[in-house]
């Protein structure tokens, strides 16, 4: 369980969440829904540790996650609309360096498999600057596959399906299903709920604020 | 103590009472300092009456350095204890720091003309003051370089603190540079041979200028507090209009 207790989160001088508590079950996908500006990204970024909490704690079971940022970093993959890809590197290099940067030692074989998992293996030598938005997103999502090899238990995904075509969405669904079977937890911010063909919890931020 | 003062209402109340005194002291000190400086202190045997520029130049230089120090300390308060008033204080100090470092440079230049026959000499102290001027300027520019007003204050505070670490290094390196390239033969500003009679107007002027800058800083902080209040009111009325 991921417990969020009495969270107050500010963005600039604007208070986005005020004294707000909730929890997310393990081995489950929670879709965070809400209109633009409802705070979907802010919430995900705060859980990822990118935005400091003004007040409150976030606990993974009984451990406060920001007490041990490094452990939390091991546990987590965060992907948002920025993707985190260098345009001067190829798809393959991006994935390889990303995994090395995390201290992972991934063999060439596994990297290939990761790229195949989102069907981007044919583009592995293409520079990101030449990729379409959809390809970039898939290149970013290929990282998710690596969490099956290492001890990653949380995916924080901000609008991952925006640029994906139908075929990629099916592949993405497969990845999520496999992750949940492996006791993974997914928090996913998204506008549309139609794209997913599995059981999910829904957190609607609009309802929260009346 | 800072925490106690950091309440805006209390700050307003206290400064309400003290501000006239501060101005009063500053004016008294200014006039007596000017009197002693202009009429009742000896001429320098080398520089003649030009030495009297010192009574503005040296206190401004002290004050410019001291204000930078207070600016950085106030930035530490802001970053560590996150009190918005500390940020207002440092942002209020900055323009006054610019003023005094500019005054130091200008008076230094005026002093340089009769002494060395040029408007500008790359004297070690003047050079350090020029760098200090750019530190102040950098702080102000960085503060205003972000889309939202609040974004710049933290970043600029870090700059001010790193500047505080770096300033002594710069000062040392400039002195080092000076001895490296020019064996000391130039008369230094306010060198060691200060007449006792010069000391009185010097300290009076220092008193005057520092109280005057204190007065300005308080005025500045107050203006900013009112500005903030206005913004909050405006925001509130806008929100009400929407709903």
């Amino acid at each position: 369980m991921l417990y969020l207790k009495d969270l107050t989160i500010k963005r600039g001088s604007k208070i986005v969440f005020y004294n707000w508590s909730t929890k997310f079950k393990n081995s489950q996908i929670t879709i965070i829904n809400g209109k633009n500006g409802a705070g979907k990204s802010t919430l995900l970024r705060a859980i990822a540790g990118l935005i400091p909490l003004e007040k409150g704690v976030i606990k993974n079971n009984s451990n406060e996650i920001f007490k041990d940022q490094i452990k939390w970093g091991e546990n987590l993959i965060f992907i948002d609309s920025k993707n985190g890809l260098s345009k001067d590197l190829t798809v393959y290099e991006n994935l390889k360096i990303w995994s090395e940067m995390r201290g992972w030692n991934v063999g060439d074989n596994d990297l290939q498999k990761a790229l195949s998992s989102v069907d981007i293996i044919n583009y592995k030598k293409v520079y990101i600057s030449q990729c379409s938005e959809g390809l970039k997103k898939r290149a970013a999502l290929s990282r998710l596959y690596l969490s099956f090899l290492f001890d990653v238990k949380f995916w924080l995904l901000d609008e991952p399906t925006n640029e994906l075509d139908k075929k990629s969405i099916i592949l993405f669904n497969k990845l999520i299903q496999r992750f949940i079977e492996n006791k993974g937890t997914v928090l996913l911010a998204c506008h549309s709920l139609k794209l997913f063909d599995f059981k999910y919890e829904l957190l609607n931020l609009d309802l929260l604020k009346k | 103590m800072f925490d106690w003062l950091a309440n805006p209402n209390r700050f307003n109340r206290i400064t309400e009472k003290t501000q006239p005194f501060i101005l009063f002291i500053s004016i008294i000190a200014l006039f007596s300092g000017l009197y002693f400086g202009l009429f009742d202190s000896p001429k320098d045997y080398q520089q003649g009456n030009a030495v009297r520029i010192m009574y503005v130049h040296v206190p401004s230089a002290w004050l410019a350095s001291f204000l930078y120090f207070s600016l950085a300390i106030s930035c530490v308060f802001y970053l560590v204890w996150k009190h918005p008033l500390a940020d207002l204080v440092s942002s209020s100090i900055a323009p006054i720091g610019v003023l005094f470092s500019a005054l130091t440079l200008i008076t230094g230049s005026l002093w340089g003309k009769p002494m060395w026959g040029t408007w500008w000499v790359w004297d070690a102290r003047l050079t350090s003051m020029l760098v200090l001027f750019f530190f102040y300027l950098g702080y102000i520019l960085l503060r205003n370089a972000f889309e939202r007003k609040t974004d710049g204050s933290k970043t600029a505070s870090v700059l001010a603190i790193v500047g505080l670490i770096n300033l002594p290094i710069v000062k040392f390196s400039v002195d080092w540079w000076h001895t490296l390239h020019q064996p000391a033969s130039i008369i230094k500003f306010g060198g060691p041979s200060i007449d006792e009679k010069m000391l009185l107007p010097l300290s009076l002027m220092f008193l005057a200028l520092s109280f005057f800058s204190l007065y300005l800083i308080i005025l500045n902080v107050k203006t900013k507090l009112i500005e903030k209040k206005c913004e909050a009111l405006l925001l509130k009325s806008n929100l009400e209009e929407i709903s």
Partner: protein, 229 residues
């Protein structure tokens, strides 16, 4: 950080990344070198072709040229990674941001220093720098380059997301670089007058060590501020 991570590997991955990005082709290296040679040409054209005049200022021209050539590339070092989300990825990784920034500064150092060292012979010929200076010039560039990159990372972190960052950055960074210039030129100057350069060199090393310790922490702090905006 737990011991299961190989620091070397992580360090290496950052260096590899910066090299791949910056030195994808020989053109990149050539363009940096040409830029420096052109800056020096400008200086010489401004001064006039007199050998004695040039001899007096060649050391300073060399260092100023070096600093001017580095500054334009500073802004991009972090801004690019900020814009494309790479910094978000590093913060949400198990590796501490401070260590990552240290690796990044060293990677950046290598990137600015390698073209410089390649082009050192050109500069020596162009500026008529005496041969006995070469080993000292080599050492002082190595150390000075590291300190410029450490200070530069701070500057780059300060202007993350700022308006007119490309103009603001030099204004902020040049006052910080002054000591590097003074000590760096000092090394060459003292040798030219047959004195020991050790004093200046130690000061340069001392300056670098101070920033080696504080720079990763300050820039990490600044990056966290910028990311949370």
């Amino acid at each position: 950080m737990s011991s299961k991570y190989s620091f070397y590997q992580i360090f290496n991955s950052h260096i590899k990344r910066e090299f791949l990005i910056n030195f994808r082709s020989l053109i990149d290296v050539i363009s940096i070198i040409s830029f420096m040679i052109l800056i020096i040409t400008l200086f010489v054209l401004g001064i006039g072709p007199f050998q004695e005049k040039l001899g007096l200022v060649s050391n300073s021209i060399f260092w100023i040229g070096l600093i001017l050539a580095i500054i334009p590339s500073l802004e991009k070092t972090l801004q690019r990674d900020y814009d494309n989300g790479w910094l978000d990825q590093t913060i949400t990784s198990p590796i501490s941001l401070e260590f990552i920034l240290l690796s990044k500064s060293i990677a950046y150092w290598l990137i600015i220093i390698i073209p410089l060292l390649i082009s050192l012979p050109f500069f020596i010929i162009l500026l008529n720098i005496s041969l006995k200076l070469i080993p000292w010039l080599f050492i002082s560039i190595l150390i000075g380059g590291l300190s410029i990159s450490l200070v530069g990372i701070i500057g780059s972190a300060l202007t993350l997301g700022a308006k007119r960052g490309n103009i603001l950055l030099p204004i902020l960074i040049i006052p910080f670089i002054i000591p590097i210039l003074i000590f760096g030129v000092g090394v060459s100057e003292t040798i030219s007058v047959n004195e020991s350069p050790i004093g200046n060199l130690f000061l340069l090393i001392g300056f670098t060590l101070i920033y080696l310790v504080i720079s990763p922490f300050i820039s990490a702090f600044l990056i966290r501020i910028a990311i949370s905006r």
